[in-house]
Amino acid sequence: MNENSEEARVLVIPCSGIGKVHGLISRECTYKITDELSPDTADTLCLALLVSGDEDALAKVKARPCITIDGCPKLCAQKNVALAGGTVARSVLVVEGFKNRRNAQPGTAATLADEGWEIVGELAGDIACAIPGLCEHERE
């Protein structure tokens, strides 16, 4: 991968909230995107490292478009990327994946059930579709 394509990478940053299944879904969505769907155009970053003020992490979010995935309305990922000076090109709430799934059984904060993985697949697929456009916009 050359330097230009590295710079064009979108950062996908989940909240990874530890209290509920929604945090795990945000995290697994991220890996689905960075490891399977868009490995050449998406990467992730430790949110805790960013919030703790690490200079390299701050520089990364300022240099690349960011997609945040939050498990709850506190929007830790979205707000902290914005406060760090990053551009939140898209903010996704995990609850969007539950819209058409009343009484969903997605699993727990530690383990996803089949329906949880289905939600991960749907959310990640939707997000991954937006990544080429963001990369193109960034190159321009």
Binding site: R27, Y31, A110
Partner: protein, 228 residues
């Protein structure tokens, strides 16, 4: 509400490395299976961003940090805002190379991941026991009550503003003010635009109300900084 002392566990959950996944899952195993009822978890990004309720919990209760790597985001952040931790565990130190066989995603979890989580969670549980024993021997033991938990389920604190005669609660405003104060934003008229721009990230503001919000935010920020 229980008077029983609980131990806070703060996991780094670092997304970039498998050790972050191990730290997260090991913490959950302690909460759910090994020491249920005696432990709570605190959300690290929210803690570091300035959630006063979580920081107060960490000040008053023994807290154990579980970091994936030697950057020690959890330990350093906790000690910066809430004082010394009862114990600091680092996954890569505890696993002695086993982490090289671990995966970031639980989808790719194997026996190596399960073993790593088991090892780290046993270390956390042992540290919890030590912290509880120390707390039991402390003269102040039993004075503190606990109503803390993961912040995901608790509402963020807000500040009520008078916006053109209308009372508006802006959730998370204390955190925003604290962040801006740390970044050196002065509590005077020159900061009105910056206040509006930052709060707008978190709270919807109609164009027609910008001036009223500027005045209200500036007034609240001055009070927050002790300038009025």
């Amino acid at each position: 509400m229980s008077d029983e002392v609980k131990v806070g566990i703060i996991s780094c959950s670092g997304e970039e490395i498998p050790e972050g996944t191990v730290s997260r899952l090991a913490t959950r195993r302690v909460l759910d299976s090994l020491r249920p009822g005696r432990t709570v978890t605190l959300c690290l990004p929210l803690f570091l961003a300035g959630d006063e309720a979580e920081r107060e919990f960490a000040r008053r209760h023994p807290t154990i940090t579980v970091d994936g790597c030697d950057k020690l985001c959890a330990k350093k952040g906790t000690e910066q805002y809430s004082g010394p931790v009862a114990a600091s565990l680092v996954v890569s130190d505890l696993l002695g190379g086993r982490e090289l066989c671990c995966a970031r995603s639980t989808r790719a979890s194997t026996e190596s991941d399960e073993e790593a989580v088991w090892i780290v969670s046993e270390h956390i549980a042992a540290a919890v026991d030590v912290a509880l024993d120390a707390e039991a021997e402390s003269p102040s033991s039993g004075e503190s009550s606990c109503d803390a938990g993961c912040s995901c389920s608790a509402p963020a604190k807000g500040i009520r503003l008078d916006v053109g005669g209308r009372t508006v609660n802006v959730t998370g405003l204390p955190l925003i003010f604290e962040h801006l104060a740390k970044s050196g934003l002065p509590a005077d008229e020159s900061s009105a635009d910056k206040l509006l721009e930052t709060v707008r990230i978190h709270h919807e503001i109609e164009s027609a109300e910008e001036d009223a919000y500027k005045a209200a935010l500036l007034s609240a920020y001055k009070s927050f900084r002790g300038c009025s």
